[in-house]
């Protein structure tokens, strides 16, 4: 009796399948005359006030300029979307006529490599990856249309570290780290270099009085039960005497917690990360935010796809030093927050200017790794490869390096 119902159910299902197959062929054949279609894959929600929102707004800006359309899928990670994989999303986006796919997370590396191998002719970008870097350690010469774009956030982080050191009373700066890899090691090291320089050279204090520690939550954002809770970690930092937290995660817990404590009368601040608008969570507790401005590079990519010149290039783009907050030209920006005193703000401008005109290169030796072994000898400057593939943290920093 009941098996009969099952047979009916599956027959109906097959009928539906037969019908809907036609729909898809229609939608594919009508793609030629449509406006530019961009597929954007985000690891977090598009409104996270952090990493994913920066990509979303950058891509929206670019697609608006060319009058195109955007297909967005956010929260593509095993915790939020256990049944969606990157290759699956890419297949569907291509099925819908996407001419360029941008995968925007380090966590999507395996997935986008698989997708690029399955669709070798479709232009794709892995933002933050290194698969197209001919000199890099993970070069994939067999993927001619998978490009990489990343910003030289090292500069943004140096400015963040400087702001933290200038404003800190206790000399205890903590870094709220995501997971540990080459990228996060180089960014937290950059923060430390900026902090150390401004603590000793600008504020004229003793290097031994600066305490810089990092704690890693285990992923780019909070996954309850899996990562450490960034809210808890931020509060532990403050409870242990830290007065400035520099955030390295995709979301805004550090600035939110700093804001709560500041409004309760504590003298604490935070430097959020990734997204220009993230100080809005707690403006007066915010010293500023180093942010990515993905719009111009995504616009270039869209145009190169349109005119047929898109290639698997590796782009590691720095700030436009003429105006690091120029939305049309600068990949990396730093927007100062209300918490920064006007005096410190002026010092920060000088520091930024020195980074920009090349008179100050903080990646210059002597610099040692955390274990005391030599990273850069006296007067030696780090190469791009050395910075990108940072194997450890630097001497003077507390916290695990792997």
């Amino acid at each position: 009796m009941q098996w009969k119902h099952l047979v009916i159910f599956f027959s109906l299902l097959l009928f539906v399948v037969g019908c809907s197959d036609n729909d898809e062929t229609e939608s594919v054949s009508s793609e030629a005359s449509e406006p530019f279609k961009l597929g954007l894959i985000l690891v977090g929600p598009r409104d996270d006030n952090g990493w994913s929102q920066a990509h979303f707004e950058g891509a929206s800006h670019a697609i608006e300029k060319v009058g195109g359309e955007m297909i967005v899928v956010d929260k593509v990670n095993p915790a939020d979307s256990p049944n969606i994989t990157v290759p699956q999303v890419v297949d569907d986006m291509i099925g819908q006529g996407a001419q360029l796919i941008i995968a925007t997370s380090d966590d999507m590396k395996d997935g986008i490599l698989e997708a690029a191998a399955a669709h070798p002719d479709v232009p794709m970008i892995h933002a933050s990856g290194d698969s197209a870097w001919t000199d890099g350690k993970a070069y994939h010469s067999e993927l001619p249309m998978l490009a990489n774009i990343m910003g030289k956030m090292e500069y943004g982080k140096m400015i963040a570290g400087c702001a933290a050191a200038l404003q800190s009373d206790t000399g205890r700066i903590s870094y709220l780290g995501p997971l540990i890899n080459d990228e996060t090691r180089r960014l937290v090291s950059s923060t430390y270099l900026g902090a150390k320089h401004c603590w000793t050279e600008v504020a004229g204090k003793s290097a031994s009085d600066l305490k810089f520690n990092v704690n890693w939550i285990g992923f780019w954002f909070n996954i309850p039960g899996v990562t450490l809770d960034p809210t808890v970690v931020a509060n532990e930092f403050f409870a242990s005497g830290t007065d400035v937290i520099v955030s390295g995660i995709d979301t805004t817990e550090a600035i939110v917690e700093a804001g709560k404590r500041a409004s309760a009368g504590e003298t604490v601040w935070a430097v959020p990360y990734d997204y220009e608008g993230s100080c809005s969570e707690a403006p007066s507790a915010c010293l500023g935010v180093p942010y990515f401005n993905w719009g111009p590079s995504y616009l270039d990519a869209i145009e190169s796809v349109s005119n047929g010149s898109f290639k698997a290039t590796f782009q590691w783009l720095g700030p436009d030093w003429k105006d690091i907050n120029d939305h049309d030209t600068s990949m990396i920006g730093f927007l100062k927050g209300d918490g920064l005193t006007s005096e410190n703000s002026k010092e920060l401008d000088k520091f930024t200017k020195a980074l920009g005109d090349g008179s100050l290169n903080l990646w210059t030796g002597p610099l040692n790794y955390q274990d005391g072994s030599s990273f850069l000898g006296e007067g030696e400057s780090a190469t791009d490869l050395q910075i990108w593939y940072m194997p450890s943290l630097l001497e003077g920093m507390d916290g695990p390096a792997e």
Partner: protein, 348 residues
Amino acid sequence: MFVRNDLLFLGLGILVPVCASMLVFLFVDAPPLRATELFFEGAFGSSQRMGDTLMIWVPLLLASSALIITFSAGMWNIGIEGQIIAGAVAASFVAREFEASTPVVLTAMIVAGLIGGMIWGGLAGLLRVRGGVNEIFGGLGLNFVATGLVVYLIMGPWSRRGIASTGGTEPFRPQAWFPTLDGLRVSPLSVLLAIGVLILVLWFLSRTSYGLRLRATGKNPLAASRFGIRTDAYLLLSFLLAGGVAGLAGVTQAAAVYHRLVPSISGGYGFLAILIVLLAGFRGQWILPIALFFAAVSMASFQWQLQLGLHSSLGGVIQGILVLSVLLLSGYRAISYMRKPISEEGDA
């Protein structure tokens, strides 16, 4: 009479959430008809998509098969998520440590997953039988322990070189991947495994004396023990078997879906399967279409985001409504049965 009533509830179980979903679509200004169309298109619209739906169907079927065993013994196996994880961990261990040809590695992974799941299920059973710990609390606790274990492995001994991330382990060697057909992501092997296991479980419960005694234990433990059935042993057996079957879901998740170990390897499918089994009214054959329906909703929510630009949370809202409607209907069904005069109840 009974069948008709069940069909009515099954119909309601589908109709009520669907209507509620329609209202949600109207609320967010999405065309409900297009959304419905996308439901079918997204889940079954092409061989690739159908395959992807089956990829979700497989762990749901396996987890449901596992739960049918413990439900038959009158147990709420909330620890199923942990058992899936334990199976995945055991299979990942084999995938990482043993180099051999694909059939050998996959067989070893399946056996390891079975054993891993049985250990985890057995622990919940032991806690219940020997420790007097309610299986719901024991299971929940073991779920947390399993998650802790998998995060520890991924961040510690099994971490990628130079990386400490909960993102997952290095992908397995290709020998440890379930084979797929050209152009499809789903592995026919995992589909066959899931259907085969469901049939085996139903056969065991309905056609063997062990199954009969296990069901007797579930229906009335006191009466069963008076008949000389060692109810404790059968409770433990149900957890061992359920754990083993759930462990297989972990194997397919690791070897056929992610090809590596990730913290959320169980994907919440264990909890979803509880609802499937409830909705199926513990009748095995209904698990097939109901699990397929749930898998289809998961696929459709992706299409709603992709093609209608709906917020990604909306899929979760719809699933939440589905789940709540099912719970509500199950509750209502239980109440309506209780209110029925004894003469109408018939035999169970």
